[in-house]
């Protein structure tokens, strides 16, 4: 009996499936460069992740929590990375990471859904754009040869748009029989939407291989992501989602757990990509930050500016925390409660991607964020 890998290879060369994308378009990606975007859904607290321990007002505003932050990974005279992120700190010391603080998109309200919509669409108003900046990035890369995958049941907004992309999720179920698979293709002969999704799912599933070992947690996700980007026909642009950052109560334990998993993800991606790491850029960002002060339930509420992280072997200005620090004294806070943004997410992304792909910065900015002036 044919296994799935062979089945798809066979069907792609078969004349019966002429409606499929020709195999040539599926050749080795032209670019060796890899880009991964991980979105932290739910507004991650940048002040706890990358603590401004050199700011006396931070200690005043957060009390015991701030004292605890001092026990983390000291990056420079001002910023300390959370204690649960030792691997990220190591990469920072090796000049393979750079962080940006007090960064935000142009969004100034406090709704997760609008905030994520802006972060992903790259637009300037919620729900104004139907496509995302990652998809528009694909238009700048070698056409048809830069495979993009979203690790999600369906494609999130950041990757949606004119350039076709796939979605992928690991399954623990047994592989279906190839005879029925072929019949399903026939079933979708007159339904372009389903035909495309189906073809794509089979191919991507095949590429990732069957999972072995633990499938949950940051390390497993990092390993799986690296697997999807390895090899000549692997993905070159990847998006992952991470939830659980909306820490309205008992923030200490919950955020600590999330950051530990994030650290494990980064470490696994780094290790598993091996020699490809030098060609890889990973950006980690969230829709907005959280209030400077703790609320009444040992958590924080929706805020404005947060911290973003970049990792990779060829970063521009690595080993630095970039921040035009606005200060945390009460009068410096936005609306009297939030870290005021002094850097734009859009600028950060455009700058990092222009450097990564050796493209003109203005062109990247214009293409990815056409509404951002």
């Amino acid at each position: 009996m044919l296994d799935r890998r062979k089945f798809v290879a066979a069907s792609l060369s078969g004349a019966a499936l002429a409606s499929f994308v020709p195999a040539a378009a599926w050749g080795a990606a032209d670019t060796e460069k890899r880009f991964v975007f991980l979105i932290q859904r739910g507004a991650a607290d940048g002040l706890a992740t990358l603590a401004p321990t050199g700011d006396p007002d931070f200690l005043r505003a957060r009390g015991g929590m701030a004292t605890e932050a001092l026990a983390g990974n000291k990056l420079d005279s001002f910023f300390t990375l959370h204690a649960n992120m030792p691997e990220a700190a190591k990469l920072f010391a090796q000049r393979q990471a750079s962080f940006v603080h007090a960064v935000a998109s142009g969004y100034r309200e406090r709704s997760h859904f609008d905030g994520q919509n802006i972060l992903e669409s790259g637009g300037n108003r919620p729900y104004a754009r139907k496509d995302g900046w990652m998809n528009r990035l694909l238009t700048l890369l070698p056409e048809g040869r830069t495979k993009a995958i979203a690790v999600a049941p369906s494609v999130p907004l950041a990757l949606r748009g004119a350039v076709p992309v796939s979605s992928y999720e690991q399954s623990r179920l047994a592989a279906p029989k190839e005879d029925l698979m072929r019949r399903v293709e026939m079933l979708y002969a007159e339904d372009p939407q389903l035909a495309t999704l189906w073809e794509d799912a089979i191919r991507t599933d095949m590429m990732a291989g069957k999972p072995k070992g633990p499938q949950r947690g940051g390390a497993a996700a990092g390993k799986m992501a690296a697997g999807l980007m390895r090899g000549g026909d692997g993905a070159r642009v990847l998006m992952l989602e991470s939830a659980g950052w909306d820490t309205h109560s008992a923030q200490r334990g919950r955020l600590g757990g999330r950051l530990k998993q994030l650290d494990a993800f980064i470490a696994a991606l780094h290790t598993e990509l091996g020699a490809h790491w030098k060609n890889t850029l990973l950006i980690v960002a969230t829709e907005f930050g959280r209030t400077v002060a703790f609320n009444g339930t040992q958590g924080t509420d929706h805020g404005t500016a947060s911290a973003a992280m970049m990792f990779g072997g060829g970063l521009n200005r690595p080993g630095k925390v970039r921040a035009d620090w606005p200060g945390l004294a009460a009068p410096r806070l936005l609306d009297g409660r939030d870290l005021a943004p002094t850097a734009r997410f859009e600028d950060m992304v455009a700058g990092a991607l222009a450097h990564h792909y050796r493209l003109e910065r203005a062109r990247v900015r214009r293409t990815l964020f056409p509404d951002f002036t």
């Binding site: 859904r41 739910g42 009390g63 015991g64 309200e109 406090r110 709704s111 997760h112 859904f113 609008d114 919620p126 999600a152 049941p153 369906s154 494609v155 949606r160 796939s166 979605s167 992928y168 999720e169 399954s171 623990r172 179920l173 047994a174 279906p176 005879d179 029925l180 698979m181 019949r183 399903v184 026939m186 079933l187 979708y188 002969a189 007159e190 339904d191 939407q193 389903l194 999704l197 189906w198 794509d200 799912a201 089979i202 991507t204 599933d205 939830a243 659980g244 909306d246 309205h248 109560s249 703790f294 609320n295 009444g296 339930t297 040992q298 958590g299 509420d301 929706h302 609306d335």
Partner: protein, 479 residues
């Protein structure tokens, strides 16, 4: 051929079955269900009460604490092993209540004589979403839907709103149970004594305005959110927190019940969207919620969501306008709203069109697959919780308080399709060839199933394969 019967059974209902005759008058079939809705069907009758579930959680809390203490004291050997086992057992108790509730929900969906009303319960449960992401909700999620949502879907929207947001599951999920008026009797006493500041949590207040009622960008601002948060202080859940005070509350009201504690309530009048509400204890938040529930922005928000769920991802503006108008005229009378929906011509397409039909959510697809094949169990050793996790819509576990999204692009993904294919094949195998897919297809999709699907099914190698293909067909994946 009119496709009204298919629309009624599959889009408004939960999917047709092999033994169900297509309704002769599809509109009346739906409208009759508004009276026929059963708040306590047999399938749910064995479900534990809120109080019983709170005890299950309390036992977990106790074992977890015993384990923590054992670890702290350096307990070893048999004693430590015992603590580990006890904690595991208690954790299983939580999981058991969750799976049992999920199975009951599925059982009810499979046998209900009023699938339209059943769908409405699911719709509202998702509108007022809680998530088992929080351990406490694992125990309460089912009870929340059965006790706070289901009995209220045929009344006023305001009653449904108040019922949902004051159930212990919601109070805990959106952190209201711990929110304290900073200047309340108890709040100021605690804050004077301790260094740690106790006080407001605005999570529930924000989501009530943004998700449950007015909708995002609907004319309220940060100060309105904070004011509502202040008004809501006092509402809490007895006995589930740590400390002596929580225990005292439990003695007064019973573990796990919602109560309003005057001593936690932020004193004073509140102003929300320009209207002043005098200090009035628990009646203050109720008065605010009553007003928000009938606000024009709420009418528009609810009308849009209902039309999106039942008609199209981008619902016709004329339909939304009709629903909005009815909502305002009746001050949110839900049966009138449902009637307006059923009677609107926009809700009844002349012919089936893949581009405008609703792509089924994993829950919809799973339930309709089981109904179509008259299967009452989840295949293999699995249960509905496991299957829905595989399909990408874990039961009562949306990633945010907005609930699961209700548009095609959220569910129509390659990976998701592969999961349906795998699980659909398993369900089909359970029928052991008792059902003929060639006869079933036109019976459950009257006027909808197209020649390509009919031919693909007819060419199937065996009866089970035919059914697998039917469940995966473009017509069956949509409603």
């Amino acid at each position: 051929m009119s496709i009204d019967a298919a629309t009624a059974m599959n889009r408004f209902g939960l999917g047709a079955g092999p033994t169900q005759a297509a309704p002769g008058n599809p509109r009346n079939w739906l409208l009759d269900q508004l009276q026929g809705h059963d708040a306590n069907p047999k399938a749910l009758s064995g479900q534990p009460s809120t109080e019983e579930l709170a005890l299950v959680y309390r036992s977990f809390q106790k074992q977890a604490k015993a384990f923590r203490m054992a670890k702290k004291n350096g307990t070893a050997g048999d004693q430590m092993e015992q603590a580990v086992q006890q904690k595991k057992l208690a954790r299983k108790g939580l999981q058991h209540s969750y799976i049992s509730a999920a199975n009951a929900r599925l059982a009810s969906a499979l046998v209900t004589p009023t699938p339209f009303a059943e769908r409405l319960t699911h719709f509202w449960s998702n509108h007022f979403a809680v998530s088992v992401d929080k351990p406490l909700i694992i125990t309460f999620a089912g009870n929340y839907e059965f006790a706070a949502i289901r009995p209220r879907i045929m009344g006023k929207f305001s009653d449904l709103l108040i019922s949902a947001v004051t159930h212990p599951a919601m109070l805990i999920y959106l952190d209201q149970a711990q929110s304290i008026g900073p200047d309340s009797v108890i709040g100021s006493r605690i804050n004077a004594r301790r260094k740690r500041q106790f006080g407001l949590n605005e999570n529930l207040a924000r989501e009530i305005m943004e998700l449950h009622t007015l909708g995002v960008r609907a004319g309220f601002d940060q100060s309105d959110v904070t004011e509502l948060a202040r008004a809501l202080t006092g509402w809490t859940v007895a006995g589930l927190g740590r400390g002596a005070f929580s225990k005292k509350l439990a003695e007064r009201a019973g573990y796990g019940s919602t109560l309003f504690v005057d001593g936690l309530h932020q004193p004073g009048a509140r102003t929300i969207m320009g209207k002043r509400y005098v200090a009035d204890g628990q009646a203050q938040a109720r008065a605010i919620l009553q007003d928000i529930a009938v606000h024009p922005a709420t009418a528009k928000h609810i009308a849009t969501k209902l039309a999106r769920h039942f008609v199209a991802d981008n619902p016709p503006p004329s339909l939304v306008a009709k629903l909005e108008k009815n909502f305002l005229r009746t001050s949110g009378d839900l049966p009138s709203l449902y009637r307006t929906l059923v009677e609107a011509p926009e809700a009844w397409p002349d012919k089936w069109d893949a581009a405008t039909a609703k792509f089924k959510s994993p829950w919809d697809w799973l339930v309709s697959s089981l109904r179509a094949l008259n299967v009452t169990e989840i295949p293999g050793k699995g249960n509905v919780v496991g299957s829905l996790r595989q399909l990408g819509q874990p039961m009562w576990r949306p990633e945010s308080p907005a609930g699961f999204a209700d548009t095609s692009q959220n569910w129509a993904g390659g990976a998701a399709l592969l999961r349906r294919y795998e699980i659909g094949s398993r369900i089909a195998r359970l029928t052991a060839g008792r059902i003929d897919a060639r006869k079933l297809a036109p019976a459950i999709l009257p006027g909808v199933v197209g020649p390509n699907t009919i031919e693909s099914i007819a060419r199937a190698a065996n009866p089970v394969q035919g059914l697998s293909l039917l469940l995966l067909s473009p017509e069956f994946l949509r409603r």
